[in-house]
């Protein structure tokens, strides 16, 4: 499996910014280190199923709205059907 195939894409940074939360605030709520949030956002670390579900629970969203095996479509495109600048 190639590196790109193995990568889990996520919307964590967008959701966090939307709610005006810092990495530390999210990390404290989830009981993990704030660096881990940064590594997940950057795609350098794939969370365990347990952590992914905990994150989904924290944001009150289904896990597939936050994590995906395919690159994420911008929320504006997904909700309003607006084309993304990259044309995705």
């Amino acid at each position: 499996m190639s590196e790109e195939q193995r990568r889990v894409h996520n919307r964590l940074a967008v959701l966090r910014a939307e709610r005006g939360l810092s990495r530390k605030q999210v990390a404290d709520k989830l009981g993990i280190n704030y660096q881990t949030i940064g590594y997940i956002e950057r795609g350098d670390y794939n969370p365990s199923l347990e952590l992914a579900l905990t994150i989904a629970q924290f944001f009150r969203l289904p896990v597939e709205a936050i994590f995906s095996l395919r690159p994420m479509v911008p929320l504006s495109a997904e909700v309003f059907g607006a084309p993304s600048p990259e044309g995705r």
Binding site: T36, R42, P47
Partner: protein
């Protein structure tokens, strides 16, 4: 002051961290080699001792940087380890084991070649003590140094 040094070490880019780890790993063998090499020169004994001590102190400092970077994540002491830390610790231990295996196999092979080439291997305190010191200095520090070697750059603190 301590916090500034800690956060500077924490945010060291991986390329620089790897240089420090490499320097820490070769520091002790270099110090011993310099000591052995200078022993046969006419240089003042005190000066040789000073050079050796400076090299050793630099090595100890670099090993200290490795420990500081690991922030107790290897021993799990004084640090709350999450799943990424635990995975990283496991990788660091695995890499330490691999590196140690390579060093031991290389050393054994070198000794075997030396002995089978008709040479006599004499083990005395002068040759045994540096090897023992290497074990004492590096084996406990190896996982922390490997953690500093493998971890990717810290994400910007936002």
């Amino acid at each position: 002051m301590t916090t500034t040094i800690s956060s500077r070490i924490e945010y060291l880019p991986r390329s620089r961290r790897r240089l420090l780890v490499a320097a820490a790993l070769i520091g002790y063998p270099v110090a011993v080699a310099v000591l052995v090499g200078l022993k046969h020169t006419s240089l003042n004994r005190w000066l040789i001792l000073v050079i050796f001590l400076v090299l050793m102190l630099a090595t100890a400092g670099l090993v200290g940087v490795g420990y500081r970077y690991a922030r107790g994540r290897i021993e799990g002491r004084g640090a709350r380890l999450d799943e990424r830390d635990l995975a990283l610790r496991q990788q660091a231990y695995a890499l330490s084991h691999r590196l140690l295996s390579v060093i031991l196999i290389a050393a054994t092979a070198a000794v075997a070649v030396y002995v089978t080439s008709g040479n006599t291997l004499r083990l005395d305190a002068n040759s045994f003590l540096p090897a023992l010191m290497w074990v004492v200095v590096y084996i406990p520090a190896l996982p922390a140094l490997m953690l500093a070697w493998i971890e990717t750059d810290q994400p910007a603190d936002v």
